[in-house]
Symmetry: C2
Subunit: 123 residues, 2 copies
DNA sequence: GTCAAACTACGAGGGACTTCGTACAATGGG
DNA sequence: CCCATTGTACGAAGTCCCTCGTAGTTTGAC
C-alpha cells in the first residue's frame, strides 16, 4: 500500500517520551500502582533488578492491554522503556522515584510482598 | 429485630461499616490515596493527629462530594469514622496501616509534603 | 415543638479507565 | 527477499469514577 513517510525517523530508532524527574506526580504514581496488573509488573521488574522485555512479563491479558499498562507506567514515570531490536525493554526508575519520594517504592514493594504472602492462591 | 444494623435508615446507633484489618487491600489504599482531594484529606488528618469532623476539612467541592471521598477512604481502610452528635469524626487508621504496610503511610505523607513544597501555590 | 447544623441518599452528567479484537509497522534471521 | 517475532494504533464496549444538585434524615439546642 502507500508507504507513509515519517519525519526524521531515519536515524532515530523509535524513541519513547518519558516524563522528566520533576514532572512525576505522586498522584500519578499512586494511581499507576493501584492497578493489580501494573503492580504485578512493577513487582516483577523490581525482582528482576534489570531490564525486562514486555513479552517476558506474563499477564492474564492480551497484548494490547499489556501495551496499555506499560504505557501508563511509563507516562507516570514509574518505568523507563527502550527499544532493543524487536523487543522493548523495561526498567524501574528507581533513582528518580527514590529521589522524589524516598522510601515510597520500597514500602509499596514490601507491602505488595506481604499481601501476596497473606493471600497464597489469590491474585 | 434486626441483627445487623445497616447504614440505611437504621435505628438509634448509627454505625458505619469498616473493613477489618486483614480485609484492607494495598490496591484499594493506593487508589484511595491517588485522588488529590483524598490525599489532601489524609494529609490534614495526619497533621491534626486527632479526630477531625468532616466539616472541619475544607475542600473545594460540595458536601456531597466530600461525603463520597470520606466514604472511599473509609471503605479502603484508610480512615475510621464515628458519629458524635451531628458530626462525623474521622481519624487515620495508623495502627492498622502500619501493621499491614510498614512505612507506606509515612512515605506517602512525606512524598506529598515534598511535592507540595515543590509546588507552592496549589497547581 | 421547632429549628438549624451536619451529613446522607439518590440520580444524573461527563469523563476516564480496562479490556478486547483487528489491522499494521519495525526488526532481525534464514 | 520472505517471514516470524514483537509491539503499536485504533476503535469499541462496558464499567467505574468524580462532581454536582436536590431532597431527606439524624442530632442537639432553644
Amino acid at each position: 500500500m502507500t508507504p507513509v513517510p515519517r519525519a526524521s525517523a531515519a536515524t532515530s530508532p523509535r524513541e519513547l517520551a518519558h516524563p522528566a524527574r520533576d514532572e512525576i506526580r505522586l498522584e500519578g504514581v499512586l494511581h499507576a500502582l493501584s492497578d493489580p496488573m501494573r503492580l504485578r509488573v512493577v513487582r516483577e521488574l523490581a525482582a528482576a533488578d534489570a531490564e525486562v522485555a514486555c513479552s517476558h512479563v506474563e499477564l492474564p491479558v492480551t497484548k494490547s492491554t499489556c501495551t496499555h499498562h506499560f504505557r501508563v507506567l511509563r507516562e507516570a514515570g514509574v518505568i523507563r522503556q527502550t527499544y532493543r531490536g524487536t523487543a522493548k525493554m523495561n526498567g524501574l526508575r528507581r533513582d528518580d522515584l527514590d529521589a522524589l519520594f524516598p522510601g515510597l517504592l520500597d514500602a509499596v514493594l514490601a507491602a505488595a510482598g506481604a499481601q501476596a504472602a497473606r493471600r497464597p492462591t489469590g491474585s
